[in-house]
Symmetry: D3
Subunit: 266 residues, 6 copies
Amino acid sequence: MDKSVFLEDLDAFAYREALASGEAIVLIPVGSLEQHGPHLPLGTDTILSSRFAEGVARRLDALVAQPIAYGYKSQQKSGGGNHLSGTTSLDGATLTGMARNLVKSFLNQGVRHVVFVNGHFENYQFLYEGIDLALEELGLKPGADQSVLLLSYWDFVSQDTLTKVYPDGFPGWDIEHGGVLETSLMLHLEPARVAMDRLVDGPAAVLPRFDRLPVVPERTPATGCLSSAAGSSAAKGELLYGQVVDDLAADLAEELLREPEDATAP
Amino acid sequence: MDKSVFLEDLDAFAYREALASGEAIVLIPVGSLEQHGPHLPLGTDTILSSRFAEGVARRLDALVAQPIAYGYKSQQKSGGGNHLSGTTSLDGATLTGMARNLVKSFLNQGVRHVVFVNGHFENYQFLYEGIDLALEELGLKPGADQSVLLLSYWDFVSQDTLTKVYPDGFPGWDIEHGGVLETSLMLHLEPARVAMDRLVDGPAAVLPRFDRLPVVPERTPATGCLSSAAGSSAAKGELLYGQVVDDLAADLAEELLREPEDATAP
Amino acid sequence: MDKSVFLEDLDAFAYREALASGEAIVLIPVGSLEQHGPHLPLGTDTILSSRFAEGVARRLDALVAQPIAYGYKSQQKSGGGNHLSGTTSLDGATLTGMARNLVKSFLNQGVRHVVFVNGHFENYQFLYEGIDLALEELGLKPGADQSVLLLSYWDFVSQDTLTKVYPDGFPGWDIEHGGVLETSLMLHLEPARVAMDRLVDGPAAVLPRFDRLPVVPERTPATGCLSSAAGSSAAKGELLYGQVVDDLAADLAEELLREPEDATAP
Amino acid sequence: MDKSVFLEDLDAFAYREALASGEAIVLIPVGSLEQHGPHLPLGTDTILSSRFAEGVARRLDALVAQPIAYGYKSQQKSGGGNHLSGTTSLDGATLTGMARNLVKSFLNQGVRHVVFVNGHFENYQFLYEGIDLALEELGLKPGADQSVLLLSYWDFVSQDTLTKVYPDGFPGWDIEHGGVLETSLMLHLEPARVAMDRLVDGPAAVLPRFDRLPVVPERTPATGCLSSAAGSSAAKGELLYGQVVDDLAADLAEELLREPEDATAP
Amino acid sequence: MDKSVFLEDLDAFAYREALASGEAIVLIPVGSLEQHGPHLPLGTDTILSSRFAEGVARRLDALVAQPIAYGYKSQQKSGGGNHLSGTTSLDGATLTGMARNLVKSFLNQGVRHVVFVNGHFENYQFLYEGIDLALEELGLKPGADQSVLLLSYWDFVSQDTLTKVYPDGFPGWDIEHGGVLETSLMLHLEPARVAMDRLVDGPAAVLPRFDRLPVVPERTPATGCLSSAAGSSAAKGELLYGQVVDDLAADLAEELLREPEDATAP
Amino acid sequence: MDKSVFLEDLDAFAYREALASGEAIVLIPVGSLEQHGPHLPLGTDTILSSRFAEGVARRLDALVAQPIAYGYKSQQKSGGGNHLSGTTSLDGATLTGMARNLVKSFLNQGVRHVVFVNGHFENYQFLYEGIDLALEELGLKPGADQSVLLLSYWDFVSQDTLTKVYPDGFPGWDIEHGGVLETSLMLHLEPARVAMDRLVDGPAAVLPRFDRLPVVPERTPATGCLSSAAGSSAAKGELLYGQVVDDLAADLAEELLREPEDATAP
């Protein structure tokens, strides 16, 4: 079991050996339990962020912690909305508390770098806040040896990949919810968890440029998806996964494995 | 004074007359006190969101509340970073608390619709959370008569305007901090508060695709701006302001002043 | 613009010059959005605390931050009560959070002294708590170089001034809400925002010596004012404003601009 | 034991009989554990508020709950300051939480009226906030059958009593900390807990009109008292206690025992 | 009065003498206001924890602070349930806040060891959390000079005593609520507050092995007691009290009064 | 995939079918990421609670939600202590927030019963608090149709099983951490994740009857286990797992699948 990259599989003594180098990196996947249409499972965001974290960890000899499996409230403009059954959400204070506690716990144990790998759009700012509060409590300031990184995996999809995945033009990240990107990735990584026969095609949702609360349920398509997954394929998923893991691992290696004195180059 | 759109200028009895129609709309500008380079004042975000709110209010016969003049922590990727003097920020819980309290207070008084007009990128999710918590406490659900809208004014800049304002190509919203958009708007609206002679030109900042905390201060340009304001003009500001106020007022009128039964159209 | 005392008008580089001396003083006005009868605007407390802060800042070469424009819940014994439309209030945690965040932000930037200038009775204890929590987090203890002061402007009205402003006897600070003091100050400072023709005369409210919740609305006079503003004048306002700014500026200069070793004298 | 007014002495079945009338009144004393000079015990505020509550409860056939025995942070202007050993304080959130929890718990059990009897100046606003939050959660609005009252016992000292207790003029409530009022009351009610031989005479403290934090310790007299207790006597204490209990019981009877339809008279 | 072990009776100067040794121990009793059947008073838990603290304090020359007189919500499996009138409870955050504030306040004053003496089962984890948060804020780590202990008095009842008190077999701590242990202790320590004639005999409650919320009220016996108090006696109470005070005092003396270098032995 | 009991595998439409009956039961495993000695993985508590939930769900046709994979701080008396690397913990507020959010989210979606299956001793009270707060917000009272159950799986180990698993006598639940019970269960359920060759035998830890904070690290055995796992076997694990799943499923069926009118029988 000592070859696992998953923290839950390690025993405490094997983990302490990893810490002993002073260079341990822990990646924390963050997802959601959220409706993703009739063809994708509720756990899609958690599954994908975990798989990206796993891929990167193998490249960097890093560890993957248990995911934060529930995310911030789904918003109508990016996830269809929190009113849809299947979407099971945390409020901002709790998600912030999760991030704050995990950062403090891991850095206090001697982890050098913690990296949050986000897979649910709405989480980002609350994770940021949790990290910032933790660092303030720990007294870590610019120049510190330890650090925390926060990223969403889709920000590492290259323009070239986008063009290949969306030959008819990319509809925008905001409505990529249960669409071609997520579906292709799932077809590549977890085909048994995708039901392509249940996929419903249709035009992309057109939502106002504001958020309205309480939501107007009718504005979300009946599928719960904001853009169609038609055109998804395992091949596209393989391309996406491979390119993102490559770039993400390269960027993190450049950022975290270089000598500290070089840390200021972008 | 009874013609003022600003709530702080109204007396309680005049305000109650506005409420009596059952159709009162209150706009709340949200900004920040944040460094905006050597040529723009610290209050830029609050000034601009207030001016947009004022412009829209005059069209809709709505009221403008006192702005939330301090914003969430400036992030390096969108505002240069919270470590820069002049940037004076709130944590997530406090900003969420502000939004939650104001929503509850205004809706309890009988305001029909509250509209947050955001002018500082980092605020958005915390305002959303405050609104959502307030509506939960008030027991307002889909179909309710009262509503809260949340928007950032730059989401209403049209593609056409963008092309005119950035003839060499739009660098992206994320690095529009103290750049051509904000500077042009200030030149149009508050020319006495802009010091174009202090403007420093230079290439746009290139920041990693992740957030790193603690920040690496050297990654923010010395000016604190992420893109150059060279090429700003009052004429561009006038174009931006006019187009956004037009579209924003039109969208809000369509959304809020129509009969309730039509509320589901996008 | 570089002569402005208002922080929102300064650019970040001008602000940093002010900080460079190590002696910068920032005053934060704190007010409310609260009904003040038919003759005074809802923003009266914020307007007045801002004007007092401005007056003092000019004497001390200090800076004035954006006001905290919303205050703690209006209490029936001091402000008529929170049930009155126009009164838009924060709960204790949010107001405390505002004060805590601003103190931490300003002191971390290198401001030497922060001074809260309060203009709404109910705010005081929650501001105090925010300041105390901030100093605990910052680790500032007696003898520290930096400090925070908290005051309500009416505590600087002299006995002599009171006698002149209330020739028939002072009714007490607790029922000075929309009364002679506030109205006279507004007539002097913001005459266009006062509607003396709407003023309603009448006896002072007689309220129980306890607070009762839920309030008994009938105990607040229909005007929302606890004492009559009849007898207000711009001349009285000028006297009040001048005397308070004189004394406040003198006390702050004595407290904050002397050598640290003298700081213990009252 | 069934004649005790103290809730802690009642068994649950006797208590339920008291509730069965629908008219039960519970008084909650609130004090502090705070230095009170060399002659008074640390528990003075809790002892006095408990004794006032007991006296009133006997008149009204009400019950007295266990006191909130720790109070909000002692402030230099009213209690000498929180830096003095012996002063053991709660932050605002915890004191607010205590009040909120007790109000909810008692009103949910069917208590008709809860009355907080405060004996420590700094507590007041945080108790108010706790009460207000509880009533909001319970959905109690003006006109409700149940209510909560909040008072400080010294607000019921009459002008006539003051003149007798302070024949040379009343120094003001703000510096009545370990002074003639508290000492006289303790001499009357708990003489064994007063050490008059340890009393230190001296002039009243002269404190600035602002609060400064961190405090300047030298501004508090060495005794910790802000005014001298010289001139205290059990006779004055008897006068104070008798008059306050009389008036307090009368006001509460008038407010709480009348028919509901009369509740609006002051 | 200077011989009292109760902090509320000491004056600040006498207290400071106790602190001057650097070895002061403060015990804080924690109880509840909770129904304890028809024969025991609502304050039973607070009374008993206070009496245990007092007994131990006399042995160790320690001090007893005012009790935390309200406890965490009564759970059906251990206290009958929070739905029973007479049970007046705090939520977790407030009880945690009480413990956190008291630990910080006492340790900052120079108390060497704080000992919480718990008398209400449900309190334990929330007290633990409050202590842990306080120590984190104070920066106290293993090896620190100051410490906090947390215990429930019944964990010090010896097997031998149990056998004598329950000759027919001990029913288990979870259903000891208003049963033989508490009743015997009250008969020994506070006989006037026990009404043995009101005692209702009956079989012990049989509750599920899970907690169900909302509770099923019928599962709690009508008495509110989970086991019968029949067989209680003052003699058993004397045995219990004497043995526990002996062992508790011995353990604390061993733990706290030895030289620090020995502190690691169990 | 539609036969999975795991919510993360279901798509939203399949989940809604499960809800449509009005009888859906969701089980939420709760564990920890905690050192469990040299022979068990850090994820032991989460793995075991998940496996128990899965086993019960298959019997009851219920669903299993993603686990809460991080738990409350490990306490020295029950888990060795939070100072041990590998132990990654949440504070009380965050764990309470997790439970509160999940209860609200699932009950609002129409789940009939939520069952928390706890596998980490220290979690229990904070889960209870989260559940209680959620029900209060939802307004669910005794007699409601929906309910939440909370249990720890070891409370369902029968006396008979205990005797077989611990032929030399059961050492007590408090020191069962990485001992025979957990190790046997892991050997049965996840043999590849157990390293019996790394197991260290030794006497059970003898810890004081109080908690001391900061902890005295030397009191925890070097292995981090409080009792020896020697004597563990897959056969014992099979016995334990089978008996507990049987009893747990039977009790839950009796409690949740009967007609509501019978709900009061234990």
